[in-house]
Amino acid sequence: MKRRKFDVAAVPGNAARAVDDRFGVATPLRRLLNKVFPDHWSFLLGEIALFSFVVLLLTGVFLTFFYEPAMTEVIYNGSYAPLRGTPMSAAYASTLDISFDVRGGLIMRQMHHWAALLFMAAIVVHMLRVFFTGAFRKPRETNWIIGSLLFWVGFLAGFTGYSLPDDGLSGTGLRIASAIMLSIPVIGSWVTAAVFNGEFPGTIIISRFFIAHVLLIPGLLIALISVHLGLVFTQKHTQWPGPGRTNGNVVGERMFPRYAIKQGGFFMVVFGVIALMGGLFQINPVWLFGPYEAWVVSAASQPDWYVMFLDGSTRLMPDWEITIPIGEGYVIPPLFWPTVVLPGILVAISLFYPFMEARHLKDYRSHNLLQRPRDVPFRTGLGVMAVTFYVILTLSGANDVIADKFQISLNAMTWAGRIGLLLLPPLAYYVTYRICLGLQQHDREVLAHGVETGIIRRLPDGRFVEVHQPLSAGNGHGELDYAGWVVPKKMNRLGALGPAIRGFFYPIERPVEAPVSPGHPPVEPRPEREEVTSGETRP
């Protein structure tokens, strides 16, 4: 039999042609491969959240194989000796089993928890980046709204997951959640009874939280994340202003291969950091807290960090109870304001901010160029004001620990928080506003007069002046426009100074060169970079 000729080199080409003939992917695939992404370190923050979410899915699926979402009472008989013989819920017992009796279960649990904390932190930092640079402006308002919702859905995911182990700490959190639902006017008791199927704690809340935590909330998160990324893709990423960058183009790298490779590497790094944290740093050691018992709590019971601002607002709230003297009388408890109304206001403000700002500035154009925080002082001021508000609340969520460690009166901490919450945010706004104006002013000064050289010249009449290096040709006065982008402020940024001293621990000194004659340049010129050989030469 004659052997058929088989051209190995032609296989990929033929296969590709076969696929394209049937599915018509060549053009869209090339568009995808060629899509240009702008690059800046601050654009990576959202990706940390995305990658943490992937780790959450992976570790979460593992945990579901061993977790039992039931509140049936069992007597613990596992490996952890101090709790043996203790009555507890099946949920708590299975969490202990994951920690002690499933090989490698503890690192999965801890990675899951750390990834959740990182997910929320990355969302917040990413959101701050988007806010302070004006990336939420038209046409990206929808994506801003989706991002804000992602924070709150992530918050719910975190809280439901935190409650699942049914340990002493999370049970107390659940108790407070039931009190928050109970505090809602008119329907509070009905809401609580519906969620807990009767009085707290009931016997069903863990299974309900479980299905919310592993199905409903992740489903919602995946849907929101998909739309979020899809919009980034179709609307194209914003970019910083700079040479050649306009509102109408994207300057950066094509997605494949370099950009995509960097993303892949970054994912591995995030995953690796979470693995290190999960292995080395203990988180939520539920076996130390014991099972949930309604009558046991300890001092310094703090929730996960992203819930602490609500804990803080609850602690700072004065005891203002509103009674409505109709019939037998009705009550709006003080708990309602910091835990239901305040988050409601925060959600509303964050959702509508892009529209409020556009209306305030009467600016309804599309913006694809970012703004530096200093160039929009009022927005930066508002952002810092919000961050100050949030930080005070979060610190107040741990005010008992601060009071204990620093030997301050607990009541003084509460009062400091109350007063600080009213005074510091406006102060932060004012200070930030002034700093922004100052930074802008300095940029303009450099544009007008040039960079400080550090060279002091003595004039014939005895005065000393510093020589400035103008940034533009000529005398450099008032010739450069303010472009909203980085202005070089040091001589080495202009390439006017020699390279930095070499050497890591001590400078590598070159042997002193012999004095050169005036005809020769003292330093050899840098070698020219080699040209790319691509076949075509451009004039």
């Binding site: 000796a81 509070g188 009905w190 519906a194 050649g244 690796g272 009558w295 709590v297 599309s366």
Partner: protein, 361 residues
């Protein structure tokens, strides 16, 4: 091609003939990019092929990948052979999770850094410019689409036949309710069933007063608590010491003589005379603010502090809130001592226990 061309020169003329054999592969790549409105304006290899620098980078990347293999193997070895089962004390099992974390972390970080080095250092640097087509969905396009949609509405003819629209809405509204009904109906549960918001485990059963018991279920005699001491007590019923009676844990306090006198005076003022027995008073342990156990008792000042939100209650004045977010005093349990000398609850709490709610009388 020069490494930098300054201004992007967008294709003005004819598209290249991609079948021209004289074209290099890069030319075709650039032509493809151009057809997607992308201009590669700067393309510069970072390392020249065959140089020392290239070989060094290749070795670095390869080193990272081999380190990944090593660390991953170490992970498997630890996973299989390291003692992992929990033992009390300082056993080698305490290192199991840290070792897994370090090996897995190093493996992932190394592959990450390897890929990053490959991408960032070995691949050519480039600057490409893509057109955004701002305002590209031209008003003409928008008009075409909106007219198409308007025409669809015309075809349906809802305007001319309003009955169709109205009947469709009227018909679909109950369907939406049908979808919601099982969920709402299944979840709803009457919060006032058996008066559950107002009662605790201390409700007398069959005319029998309920004993106060300890966590281990034993009843309590007055002599069991020294002056200034306190103890958490539970209703002496089946499952009384469990989360089934989450609203029942109570703090039984033996006040010192002078505090007891003041406390009794304030009790009488509040219409609670007879709630104390001797120098003993019992207050609900469930905070009226958010339901945490208010469990930190400061003996010298007779204050009870809730560790969750730092509400403070003055025990000698009917457990009145004196600091923090709580607005309502802790309910007091009327107590006495039965014929056998054990503490019992005279009756259930006379007001709602636990966090506040709208219809609390």
């Amino acid at each position: 091609m020069s490494s930098h061309t300054g201004q992007p020169t967008l294709p003005g003329g004819e598209p290249l003939d991609v079948n021209d054999p004289r074209l290099s592969r890069f030319d075709i790549v650039r032509e493809g990019a151009r057809r997607d409105d992308i201009e590669i304006v700067h393309y510069e290899p970072q390392v020249a092929p065959g140089t020392k620098a290239e070989r060094r980078l290749v070795r670095t990347v390869a080193g990272f990948f081999l380190l990944t293999g090593l660390a991953a193997t170490a992970f498997l070895a630890v996973y299989i052979w390291w003692p992992w089962e929990y033992e009390p004390g300082r056993g080698g099992d305490k290192l199991y999770t840290p070792l897994l974390g370090v090996t897995l972390g190093v493996a992932l970080l190394a592959v990450g850094f390897g890929i990053l080095t490959w991408g960032k250092k070995l691949l050519p640097k480039e600057v490409s410019i893509q057109d955004r087509h701002v305002g590209a969905p031209s008003s003409e396009d928008q008009r075409l689409t909106s007219e198409t949609m308007a025409y669809m509405a015309d075809e349906l003819g809802v305007k001319r036949r309003p009955l169709l629209g109205v009947s469709l809405l009227a018909g679909l509204a109950p369907v939406a309710a049908v979808a919601a009904a099982p969920l709402v109906g299944g979840l709803i549960s009457d919060p006032h069933k058996d008066n559950q918001l107002m009662t605790t485990g201390f409700t007398p059963r069959d005319g029998q007063k309920i004993r106060l018991v300890r966590e281990d279920g034993r009843p309590i005699r007055p002599a069991d608590i020294s002056a200034g001491g306190q103890i958490t007590v539970f209703p002496g019923v089946e499952h009384g010491v469990s989360n089934q009676y989450a609203d029942s844990p109570t703090l039984l306090i033996h006040l010192r003589e002078e505090d007891a006198v003041e406390s009794r005076r304030n009790n009488e003022r509040a219409g609670h005379d007879g709630y104390m027995w001797g120098n003993y008073a019992a207050y609900s342990k469930v905070c009226t603010h958010a339901g945490c156990p208010a469990s930190l008792y400061e003996q010298q000042t007779n204050r009870l502090l809730c560790p969750c939100h730092q509400s403070q209650f003055l025990i000698t004045d009917n457990a009145k809130p004196i600091f923090g977010p709580a607005s309502r005093r802790l309910p007091q349990l009327p107590i006495e001592v039965d014929a056998e000398g054990y503490f019992v609850a005279k009756s259930d709490y006379t007001e709602a226990v636990g966090p506040d709610f709208w219809e609390r009388p």
